[in-house]
């Protein structure tokens, strides 16, 4: 058998640096990131001009949710099924999957998140341009699911990134996902461009 030469670049340093990033993130992300939806209950008081601008913008944003590609595990196939011929997310204008997170609005976190993956997910979330939303799809994404006791599993995406809508199920059926998306659309409809979210 031919002997394959060593890798061209010094990969061990890269590995060590990447491992350090994971360890740091693991140490720093024990608490759950709180849901920043308190503003939803607040009564919105704006003048007519602003509310009509808001209505227009909210309509545009909720009607064209482009999804970032971040599908680690099993739930991805229910998402694809939801995109497929039978459930057909393209009706909502969501068939455009942006491979580049810069152009996406919605991150559907389909699947178990491991600590090794966590820095990448965080990075993708940070690369997405505002405004952006996250749907945690499936039990693993919400709380770690049946893998919660695993040594490499993050118990829920909300340890890493803020989550807007949780869709339970293992995996959720495509109908459930579509319902979750509609909940998100309702949430976007309540949002106001000029109302600063209180952190």
């Amino acid at each position: 058998m031919e002997v394959v030469p060593d890798y061209i670049y010094p990969d061990r340093e890269i590995d060590r640096a990447e491992g350090q990033v994971i360890n740091d993130l693991k140490a720093n992300s024990q608490p759950v990131i709180p849901d920043s939806d308190a503003w939803l209950d607040a009564e919105l008081k704006q003048n007519i001009l602003l509310t009509s601008v808001d209505t227009m913008i909210d309509w545009a944003q909720r009607s064209s949710l482009w999804t970032a590609i971040c599908f680690p595990a099993c739930c991805a196939f229910e998402f694809i099924a939801a995109n497929g011929p039978r459930f057909d997310l393209s009706r909502f204008g969501m068939e455009i999957l942006r491979a580049s997170p810069r152009q996406a609005d919605l991150m559907i976190t389909a699947g178990t998140l491991t600590w090794k993956m966590a820095p990448n997910v965080k990075r993708i979330y940070e690369q997405m341009a505002e405004p952006k939303w996250v749907i945690a799809m499936g039990a693993c994404a919400i709380s770690g699911g049946i893998f919660a006791s695993g040594y490499n599993v993050v118990p829920g995406y909300n340890h890493i990134i803020p989550v807007d809508v949780y869709v339970p199920g293992c995996p959720p059926r495509p109908e459930g996902l579509i319902y979750g998306i509609q909940m998100l659309q309702k949430k976007i409809a309540k949002k106001s461009l000029f109302h600063k979210e209180k952190a």
Partner: protein, 374 residues
Amino acid sequence: MMMPDFGTGARIALAPLPPDWPGGFWWHWLFFTVLVLAFVLSMVMGVIYIERRVLARMQSRLGPNRTGPFGLLQAVADAVKVLIKENIVPAAADKVVHWLAPVVAFAPVVMVFAVVPFANGALLADLNIGILYVVAVSSIASVGIFMAGWGSSNKYALLGGMRDVASIVSYEIPLVLAILGVVLVAGSLSLNDIVQAQQNIPFILVQPLGFLLFFTAACAEINRSPFDLLEADSELTAGFHTEYSGMKFAMFYLVEYAEALAVSAVVATLFLGGWQGPVLPPWLWFLGKVFFVFLVMVWVRATMPRVRIDQLMAFAWKCLFPLALLNLLLTAAEVALWPGAMPLIVIPINFAIAGLLIIIWSKFFKLGWGRVEV
């Protein structure tokens, strides 16, 4: 409107105003520039909607139908959303180039529409070198695309930009050679004259091989599938516009479809008889032909896998280029043989020769394997 004078070529670059158009020279310019811009932008939204609906139907789904009646407002919603999205410039990017790239890419595509006739004489500038202008101006867009690929300081974007430059340099040659066949038959470089020369027979019948060559090369130039290598989403995530968000991304998105529209318009003008047609008003004929060509592009996109970069190059140089030369030679011989009007007999002759050449080439020319020893 003056009648075409083949070959004399004594006209100035800016044609005189048609008598029935309003205002003075500059008012005329301003008015119609705004009109063309508005037309291009609204048509782009239209073709995006059409593509998404048709593509979805071809993939046995429905396509956007919730936003507005029949989903007609989907493109509007997309546009509004993209425009107010955050604009990110990567820290490592070349800021000036990054900002300038979408503009450089977008402007020339709109400029192409200045010389496309919507009806007899209804064009912004009846240049006597119209088709040359189209070829020259439309290539500038790829400078913008390369700027985007280079300025983003992203490896995927750089690969996309490199692929774009490689394809534009190669495909320009068969493209121009295919156009030359049409120009020889029509005897003019002005698009309006070319349309008028198709009074009786559209050039697709006289130039079947030229049409195929032009359509293929143009698809490659504007990077439609199966030549959409520079934003090949299964390879390079989003290619040259990986790092673009918000409004600048919207401009690239616009460029993609405006280019497709421009090519459809040029194909309709050069080969399908432009605004010529019975019964219906000319502009409707023109739009119908544009949409028809665009639908063919969508159809190709929905079925064909993508070629590889070396196959793309090989296809241009080993297949399209010699065929375009032969086509030009054949056309020149025919024009020399029958100066003035061509008899109808050339149509079956040209079809036969086109079929023969394509069969010969498909036997001898195979897209290669392309492994490099490392």
